[in-house]
Every structure is written in C-alpha cells, then in structure tokens.
C-alpha cells in the first residue's frame, strides 16, 4: 500500500497514525501540498486500485488491521461512522483554519474560528460524558478509527490557533491517544511526558 501525502497534511496524518497504531506498513510518496491552492486529500494506492480521503482509507485500514478499530456490533459501528462524519464535516473548519494561519491560504478566519469553537465544544461535551463512563475514547472502551479521524484537528490546536484550555476532556483525549502503543506525532503535535511514567 502506497500513501500519497505530505508530512504537514493533517488529513494525511490521520492515515499515518492509523497505520502506526495498528502496525500496518505503508510506503510513502510526497505530494507538494504547499504548491497548489488547496491541500489534496490523502490517496492510498492498493495494487491497481486507489482510494481518496480519510474516511474510505481509515475504513479500509480498519479492515486490514482487524481488532476493535471498527466495532462489529451495530450500535458501536454506527457511532464510529457518525464520528467519521463529524471529523470530515464539523472538524474540517479546524483543518481550513490551520491552513489559513500556517500557509496563508485564503478563507474567513473569524467564521472558521467560531465553527472550530463549537466543534471542539461538542467533542468536549461528549468526551466529558465518556470520561464519566470510564473511557477517554469516543466510542467503547478502546481506540477506534473515530478517535484517529478526530485526533489531528484537536492535537494540532496550536497551529489552528484555538487553544484547548477551555476543553479539558478534549485535552484528556489528546493525552490518551498519545499514550497508545505505536503512536507517532507529526510536526505541531506536542507530546508531553507522562507524569506517572
């Protein structure tokens, strides 16, 4: 499997992170994302076929990896698919705002900042409930592709320019994902040392 993306692509990072966490090996081809007007989504080449975008690629990799990355039971599966939509929809504001702030791409920064705030808030509310239920992850007791899909938009909050200070449960979530075996960061993702380690 060959992944076409760039080390600074937030969407590409979701795919790289999934591969790292699940022990899948991907070859890489660099796409110059800064050259064009918009960042192309990650593209995964599998034999003669290819798929584009985070959702289809994560679904495919979940199948390859096996385990609990995509729950088999309907309720968990539906919840994971909902969060994949959330990552591609609501959280896309964070990706666009990051590219305005980082690469000088055009866009309405104040409107996006409000959209990012409300997406982070919705995530925070859900994750706060999950913490009460005893899990730092979005669905169930362990990590799923929902967590991987949502992670870049919040882990890169520094580049997005919307601090996580007001979103404690999201901060706990970021922390929990960075502690998963096989975790890899990308530039802009700050991994703090574990105080309990």
């Amino acid at each position: 499997m060959v992944l076409h993306d760039h080390v600074l692509s937030a969407e590409g990072y979701a795919v790289r992170l999934m591969a790292a966490l699940s022990g899948l090996v991907l070859d890489h081809r660099v796409v110059d994302i800064l050259a064009g007007p918009a960042t192309p989504p990650p593209l995964l080449e599998i034999d003669a076929a290819s798929m584009t975008g985070v959702r289809p690629i994560l679904l495919h990799l979940a199948g390859e990896a096996g385990g609990g990355w995509l729950p088999a039971e309907p309720a968990g599966r539906a919840a994971v698919l909902d969060w994949l939509d959330f990552a591609a929809g609501n959280l896309s504001a964070a990706r666009r705002l990051r590219e305005i702030r980082l690469f000088g791409r055009p866009g309405d920064a104040p409107a996006l900042e409000r959209a990012v705030g409300s997406a982070y808030r919705r995530l925070d509310d859900h994750l706060a409930e999950r913490l009460i239920e005893g899990s730092p992850f979005l669905v169930g007791s362990g990590p799923t592709i929902a967590d991987v899909a949502c992670f870049p938009a919040v882990a890169l909050s520094d580049d997005v320019g919307v601090p996580l200070d007001r979103f404690h449960a999201v901060s706990r979530f970021v922390d929990a994902v960075t502690r998963l075996p096989g975790f890899v960061p990308m530039p802009g993702v700050l991994v703090l040392p574990d105080p309990l380690a």
């Binding site: 080390v7 110059d32 050259a35 980082l102 690469f103 530039p187």
Partner: protein, 285 residues
C-alpha cells in the same frame, strides 16, 4: 502602541513570494505596513504600499524581494552559481513570533536532540562542542564556524548518522543560512536557509529554501524534509516569552552553546534595530 519602523528595518530587503514565474496576487503586511504584490501572466512583478506608492522589486535567490526604504545591494549567495547545485524553495509558513526569534532558533544547535530527535540530533549526544563566532566587519555579517554536531539523519540524502560540520551566516537581520556537510558529496556543502518577511513585530512569514547537491530526490521530497524540520521548530519558537527578542544584557542568561545568539544580539543592538526587539525597560521610571 505600534512601534515606529527603525531605519535599519526600513531600508532592508524582504521576500514577499517564491518567484516561480507564475502570475500572482498577494495582499499582506511588511513591518506592519500593508503591501501588495502583483504579477500578470508573463508580466513583471509590481509591489505597492498602502498609499499606492510603487515599491522596488527584485528577483533574487528564487524569491521576489521588496523594501519600504532605500536599500543597498541585496546580499549575494555565491554558492548558488556552482554547477550541479539545485535550488529548492520550500513554500511559506507563518510563525507567531518576532522574526529575530526565528533567526536565533535557526542559529541554535543545542535544541537539535530534543526538537528534532532522530534527525538533526540524538538525545544521547546533546553536547554542543565549542565553535567560533565572529562579526565580519568588512561585510557586516555574523558568522559561526567550526560547528560540529552528531546527526542521525542530517539531510534527506543521508543514509546514516554523520558528524555534520556546520557554518552559519547571518547576512541581514531577517535572513539566516547555514552550510553543512552534504551527505551525498562529502567534498561539498549544502546550503539551507530562511528568508523572513516580518509582517508585524511578532508575526513572521518564513520562506525556507535549499541549495543542495541531491540527484536522488525530487523537489517535493526535499522541500518536505525542510518543512517538517521547520514545523518542529514552530511551537518551540512560538512559546518563547516574550515573543520579541530582548537585547538587554542579562535579560536572558546565555550558556557557552549560545555564543552565536550572543553575537547576533550584540550585532543587532549595535545596528540600532528595534523592530521585533523587546523594548528596553525604562530604568528612569
């Protein structure tokens, strides 16, 4: 309060765009002033300030440069003319800090093992060995020479760890370059650098660039390597307090490894640069 632009900053050249020969339209700020850069397809680039006044534009070192003042000649990069060397521009990245902080970070070797582990440094070998620093009076440049650092992956063309030899050059307050051992050609030096556009005192657009010997990798791969390293530096630079650069002696405590930073700050102070500098405490108050 908006700081007035000091003469040193006003009369310097600044990059506004990578010069790829394409049509472009950019509305931005330089030293806090609005500037516009335009080029029609096939036409010459034109820059104007907020009042519509025409600004000088030159194309050098793969970028388009302008100035708000009356500058001297733009510094030369003689290595750029060496046969076989490739110029690779690495786009533009915005950093929320003074450009002077960005240059200082670029000159620093002590952070390699911690900010770029496994690439430019190794946490097991964090020592910065003594090196030479001088302010070259004839060219008015800061140089750090005889720098050596153990690097697991000094460049994209590297196949293993090397004792990388470095020389640093600051030809202008908002430009920093380094010459380092080229893994693919041990007799030659790669040139890596950053051209800075100070948009405001604490907001800077950075244009990283490469002049390298590398026949293996494409431009996108080479640029990605530099962009990755640069983005690793971003959060470190943005979290320095204050975001401007203090030039007062004793404002920050340097160690021996900071000799290049000490020389850079002394050089800036002697020039009288104030844009992006932390205001001196008013001791009379």
């Amino acid at each position: 309060m908006i700081a007035p632009i000091d003469p040193v900053a006003r009369h310097a050249w600044y990059p506004l765009a990578v010069d790829d020969g394409q049509a472009l339209r950019r509305r931005t700020t330089l030293l806090g002033e609005p500037v516009a850069l335009d080029r029609e397809t096939g036409g010459a680039p034109a820059a104007t300030d907020g009042e519509g006044r025409r600004l000088p534009v030159v194309s050098r070192h793969g970028h388009l440069w302008t100035t708000l003042g009356e500058p001297g000649a733009l510094f030369d990069i003689p290595e750029a003319r060496e046969p076989g060397r490739r110029f690779v521009p690495c786009g533009r990245v915005t950093i929320r800090a003074s450009g002077l902080r960005v240059v200082e970070n670029f000159l620093d070797m002590a952070h390699f093992p911690f900010v770029h582990p496994g690439i430019l440094g190794d946490e097991a070998e964090p020592e910065v060995k003594p090196y030479r620093v001088e302010i070259v009076a004839s060219t008015d440049e800061v140089w750090a020479t005889e720098c050596v650092f153990h690097q697991p992956r000094a460049a994209l063309s590297a196949s293993g760890g090397v004792e990388a030899a470095y020389r640093y050059r600051v030809p202008s307050p908002f430009v920093a370059m380094l010459y380092k051992t080229c893994p693919a050609r041990p007799d030659a030096l790669d040139v890596v650098g950053i051209f800075l556009q100070p948009r405001h005192e604490t907001l800077t657009d950075v244009f990283p660039f490469y002049y390298v010997f590398d026949e293996e990798n494409g431009d996108a791969e080479i640029a990605e390597f530099q962009q990755m390293i640069f983005l690793q530096d971003k959060s470190i630079v943005e979290n320095q307090i204050p975001p401007t650069l203090p030039l007062d002696v004793g404002a920050e405590i340097p160690t021996r490894a900071d000799a290049s930073s000490v020389a850079y700050r002394r050089w800036l102070k002697a020039k009288g640069l104030t844009f992006g500098v932390t205001p001196t405490r008013d001791r009379a108050a």
